[in-house]
Amino acid sequence: MELVRKLEILADAAKYDASCASSGAHRKRRNGGIGNAEGMGICHSYTPDGRCISLLKLLLTNVCIWDCAYCVNRKSSSVQRARFKPEEVVKLTMDFYKRNYIEGLFLSSGIIQNADYTMEQLITVAKKLRESESFGGYIHLKAAPGASPELLLEAGKYADRLSANIEMPVQKDLDRLAPEKTLVEIESTMSDIKSGIDAAKNSTKRNGDAPLFARAGQSTQMVVGATESSDTIILHKAESLYRKFDLRRVYYSAFTPIENTNPLLSEPPTPLMREHRLYEADWLIRQYGFTASEITHGARGENLDLEKDPKLSWALRHRGYFPIDVNKASARQLLRVPGLGAKNVARILKIRHYHQIKLEDLAKLRVRLSNAKWFVITADYNPSVYQLDAEKLEEKLKPKVFQPSLFENLSNAALSGEL
């Protein structure tokens, strides 16, 4: 098979993994080598689905011995199969990198033979890049669940990031859709990766020199909407993964039924908005000091509100917490105000040393006043805050036209098979 055809098949097969991050790695270019990493990853392009292209994202092969129902590459799927030779991936990576198309490589694979064999193949590519090509760019390797700790340790020497996908928040879902996978095994892989990262950090502290081990940490992905598991269950799972394994990120991937989708998956299609709300909630947990229970507790039903962002929903359910005086409140309190982001909170804290903050200041900082004004006290008269307890506030904060994604219709049709 021609290289260009392989590229087509194995990029297509890789696109359902949502991770495109290339941040968090710091590596100086080796003398005579190509490539470095400067912490902030760069998005070199965007496709019309709005996603960033930062890495060359490929599967080494889409051949897989397993049969996860939600996955295009599962054994029983009828997609065309292909497999790269390691040196082909190395060449593509170097060619793309030198032309400034990418920050590096994200290499995943279907399971070939077994987890260890698969892991060895991925490591071969990463090792060639680092050692034969003196490549200093970003490398993200997928960790096959159940791969031996020794192999994970080796992978971490070459990779900036490792990720083992959790796929589903509860075992019951895996039993149904990915019977070969167990949460216990996937989490033990995460725990091995964490040990590697911690060990490297500790020895850096002791010896000063930095043994490289997955410096950009580990991440994971959950498929959303292929089972009944609610956002409440998903967010609690995400939170516990953050706590247990210091994950950098949990990615959420709205399940899209495609051509040869497994008939097992008769769930209603997942609106992209649901995925979006999960990302917002995740952000609140990681950056704003919210807990998963705060975000989900008291929400109508078990899922996040699709019409309102999770912070606004929380605020409407906790009006007793407000109003917040922007001239006196702590950073933690300010972060809870709908429409106020972390950057603006930092600005407000500075400005109020010098003068009292009025509504006009907030407007100039481009705070989203349509959300924020109901919840804050400013130095001047803010009439909106008197409506904080009004029943109809909730109505007022509803988006005028709620536009469900165009593609909900599409997925509906795809699912019912009405072509």
Binding site: L3, V4, L7, E8, I9, A11, D12, A14, K15, Y16, K28, R29, G32, G33, I34, G35, N36, E38, I42, C43, H44, S45, Y46, T47, P48, D49, G50, R51, C52, I53, K57, L92, F96, K98, R99, N100, Y101, T256, I258, L272, R347, K350, I351, H353, Y354, H355, I357, E360, D361, K364, L365, L406, F407, N409, L410, S411, A413, A414, E418, L419
Partner: protein, 252 residues
């Protein structure tokens, strides 16, 4: 009203601004003229010996000023001087008050520069070209602001083992493995083809998920004005058309 004529760079503005400040010339008394216009300043004022009085301003000011000087609008010099004047005469903490009109404007301009540099790093597309048996990576890029000097060091840190030239309508940067050289602006360059680019185009099409069309989100990050220097952008209209077709086909 006096005219102060300077070159289009930070050093030149800085020398002039310091002198104006020493003479306590108010911001609205100065007309800043950039690039070789002969004004009162160059002829009389610059030659004058003034005792070098050092002005201590907030350390945040320098990086802000360095960024703003790259901004592609003549107003930048007067805004900078007004900020400097106000920092000295009105409030040394002025820069912390981000809701102040001048500060806000400056910060917005600064952000535009950061973004321009960021997009410079992101959107330069090299083609491998053979010149005198040497492989040189050449790119044509169109920054919006004067960001060639600011953006170039990144490429040396990353690609220091490759010869490269980045050509732009705002100036060019050249790396010969030893030194970085800047040259005059050029107009649109057509480069010889590079096979790797064909693979890139195939990759771009294959990684796109037509079931998740989000055109607005894409345009926000990939502004249309950059499309003409990005080889993959030529594919966008066709990819969108096919995705929409897929959608309407499936619906019936």
């Amino acid at each position: 009203m006096i005219q102060v004529s300077i070159e289009n760079n930070f050093a030149s503005w800085r020398v002039a601004a310091r002198k104006c400040l020493q003479k306590e010339i108010a911001p609205d008394e100065i007309l800043w003229i950039c690039d070789g216009c002969d004004g009162f300043f160059e002829n009389d004022f610059a030659a004058e010996k003034t005792d070098e009085k050092i002005y201590k301003v907030s350390p945040d000011f320098l990086p802000l000023a360095e960024a703003l000087v790259c901004f592609n609008d003549a107003c930048r010099f007067s805004l900078l001087y007004r900020l400097l004047f106000r920092l000295v005469h009105e409030n040394k903490n002025l820069l912390h008050i981000e809701s102040d009109d001048d500060v806000r404007r400056a910060r917005l301009m600064e952000r535009a520069i950061y973004r321009d540099v960021h997009k410079f790093h992101a959107f330069v597309r090299f083609r491998s070209v053979n010149i005198d048996d040497k492989e040189i990576f050449v790119a044509w890029h169109e920054p919006h602001h004067f960001t060639v000097e600011r953006s170039a060091p990144f490429f040396i840190r990353r690609f220091g083992a490759m010869r490269f030239s980045i050509l732009t309508p705002k100036g060019c940067a050249h790396w010969n493995l030893e030194e970085l050289r800047f040259s005059e602006a050029v107009t649109n360059q057509v480069l010889p083809p590079d096979e790797a680019e064909d693979f890139w185009l195939v990759y771009y099409q294959s990684i796109f998920n037509p079931f998740r069309l989000k055109i607005k989100a894409m345009k926000k990050e990939l502004p249309v004005r950059h499309w003409r220097t990005l080889p993959e952008a030529a594919l966008i209209p066709e990819l969108i058309r096919k995705a929409k077709e897929l959608e309407s086909k499936k619906r019936f």
